[in-house]
């Protein structure tokens, strides 16, 4: 699908090239962007589909990675110009000396429920809070990532000691099975898996780990490499302009079928389920305050270390 829309956008551009041969003498700038097939990347796909990138002379080549942290090594290795990544993974890389820079916001928590993360339990479990989870097993897709971090914050917010909760790793698609089968007592899941899990009728949602602990908190961003940004700043200016038009397009259509259809197309999530899915707040910028909050939370839950000043990590396209 993305392939087809990309081609269509190209053809449109080809036509305009014919019309004004002198202006478009140079070829399109190709950019490979690493994405995850999740709701948060809707603006990027919208900008591709609407031809915003083509209008800026950029051809986007998306590459899907299974996990959030897989794209960043590809960025280091020079495979990608930009990577969609959750904030925790990015900051862990920064902590280890990687020259990551935020080049655009991607998604934040909403100001209140619903948001895209949820704590799910079996209906008959009687578990209502983090306190109830002490000594029990909770699943995250990965430990030490944003899902886990916000989940631990929720445990603490609802009266539990996060150190007394055992975390295990289970891929999102298997979480509902593990919960129903009694392998774990709770899971921290993400949309659209939350909607799918709730469809079984045996699972209920007891918490919103992001909007209940820190309304509007940071979640995911687009990341580039410092040296590349210093050399090719102009390309990233154009790239961010196009992406941010995509953000506007998405934000104008929140709750409308056109947006759900777009997401369903690139993520392959069936349309019927899309109607029950909660969406994040789509962001253009990254603020030092939200990164400071993230780093503070990370320090609190054991991801300690020295992190550079947040301001220095935010490229001008994300300010």
């Amino acid at each position: 699908m993305t392939q087809a829309t990309r081609r269509a956008a190209l053809m449109g551009l080809g036509a305009s090239t014919l019309a004004t041969p002198a202006l478009n003498a140079q070829a399109l700038t190709k950019m490979r962007v690493s994405v995850i097939p999740v709701l948060d990347v809707a603006p990027l796909h919208a900008a591709i589909a609407q031809g915003y990138f083509a209008a800026e002379g950029i051809e986007i080549d998306t590459s899907t990675t299974a996990g959030g942290a897989t794209g960043l090594p590809g960025l280091i290795a020079g495979q990608f110009r930009a990577v969609f990544s959750n904030g925790v993974s990015t900051m862990l890389g920064v902590r280890e000396g990687q020259e990551f820079k935020f080049i655009s916001g991607a998604s934040r928590a909403t100001q209140g429920p619903p948001d895209i993360l949820a704590v799910l339990v079996r209906k008959d479990s009687g578990i209502r809070s983090g306190k109830d989870l002490e000594g029990k097993r909770i699943a995250s897709n990965t430990r030490n990532n944003i899902v886990w971090l916000r989940g631990m914050a929720w445990v603490e917010k609802t009266g539990g000691d996060w150190r007394k909760v055992n975390t295990v790793e289970i891929p999102f698609p298997q979480m509902a099975d593990a919960l129903i089968g009694g392998r774990v007592d709770a899971v921290i899941s993400s949309e659209p898996f939350v909607a799918a899990a709730l469809e079984t009728g045996q699972i209920e949602r007891i918490g919103w780990p992001m909007s209940e602990t820190q309304p509007g908190c940071t979640n995911a961003h687009y990341v580039g490499m410092g040296p590349d940004l210093a050399r090719n700043g102009e390309i990233f200016d154009r790239w961010a302009r196009a992406l941010h038009k995509g953000v506007d397009w998405v934000n104008e259509r929140l709750g409308q079928p056109a947006l759900l259809e777009l997401i369903s197309n690139f993520s392959r999530v069936p349309m019927e389920r899309m109607r029950n899915v909660a969406l994040p707040a789509y962001a253009k910028n990254v603020t030092a305050a939200e990164i400071d909050e993230l780093v503070g939370t990370m320090q609190r839950y054991g991801l300690t270390g020295r992190y550079p000043a947040s301001v220095s990590l935010i490229h001008k396209t994300a300010q």
Binding site: G67, S89, G93, A139, I170, G181, R183
Partner: protein
């Protein structure tokens, strides 16, 4: 030792990497200097921190390896001596065999959860097939003359199995087990990467995700040495078991 020039080469390569990283020819972001990795490795070893993950992986490998080998030998022998058993299981074996066992992890998670049961089962599955096929081949390859000799001596099935068929098939069975040992390690590491909370596979992935490359390489070295050790031990055991086969 026989290998000394090769070990010298290894040392030279490591030395070169150290120099190359130092001189900036290789980015530290990709490869920390080997000395830094060695430091971490030493710390892991001297504090004993390496032991629990190692044992956790080892447990999976061993449990799956022995279970899978036992199933493979039993089923392979049954299929080798009984045409009825062969007809019953052959299509199923042929169908399941080519399925990438890693693709079976999601349904296995559904039925067995995320803990050792699932992990041991996936290791067992991957171990079973090479052993089964080799056992089948070995059992079928037993010399007719030997079987006739057993018949003329009036040996029963059990006796013939224990003293003739299995020893004759042993070289094949062990060859299959050697292949399976490597696969068992792969699946153990893979299942640790996919679910759960411990083991070498989990640590390697976790260190990569958090960009702690020195730690990642240190755990990788531990894993490599473990594999080397297991393989050498197996070869040694195989040589002893097949003493009569030496040329």
């Amino acid at each position: 030792m026989r290998h000394s020039p090769g070990i010298l080469v290894l040392v030279l390569v490591i030395g070169f990497l150290e120099f190359a990283v130092d001189a900036g020819m290789i980015r530290r972001a990709l490869l920390p200097p080997p000395s830094a990795t060695a430091e971490v490795l030493w710390e892991l070893l001297s504090t004993g921190e390496f032991l629990p993950p190692l044992l956790s992986t080892l447990k999976l490998v061993f449990a799956g390896f022995f279970l899978g080998s036992a199933i493979g030998v039993a089923l392979g022998t049954a299929m080798g001596i009984s045409p009825a058993m062969f007809r019953l299981f052959e299509p199923l074996v042929e169908l399941i065999r080519p399925i990438p066992k890693s693709a079976l992890v999601p349904p296995l998670m559904l039925f067995l959860g995320i803990d050792d049961a699932m992990k041991i089962t996936s290791v067992t599955l991957v171990v079973t097939f090479p052993v089964l096929l080799n056992t089948l081949q070995g059992v079928r390859g037993v010399d007719r003359v030997m079987l006739d000799a057993a018949r003329t001596h009036g040996w029963g099935l059990g006796h013939t199995l224990r003293h003739m068929i299995l020893p004759a098939a042993l070289p094949f069975i062990l060859a299959g087990m050697r292949v399976s040992l490597g696969l068992a390690m792969v699946l153990a590491v893979l299942s640790e990467m996919l679910a759960g909370q411990g083991g070498l596979g989990f640590l390697i992935l976790d260190m990569q995700r958090s960009f702690q490359l020195r730690q990642m390489y240190a755990w990788l070295v531990i894993l490599a040495v473990l594999g080397l050790l297991l393989n050498s031990i197996f070869l040694l055991a195989e040589r002893r078991a097949l003493f009569w086969q030496r040329r």
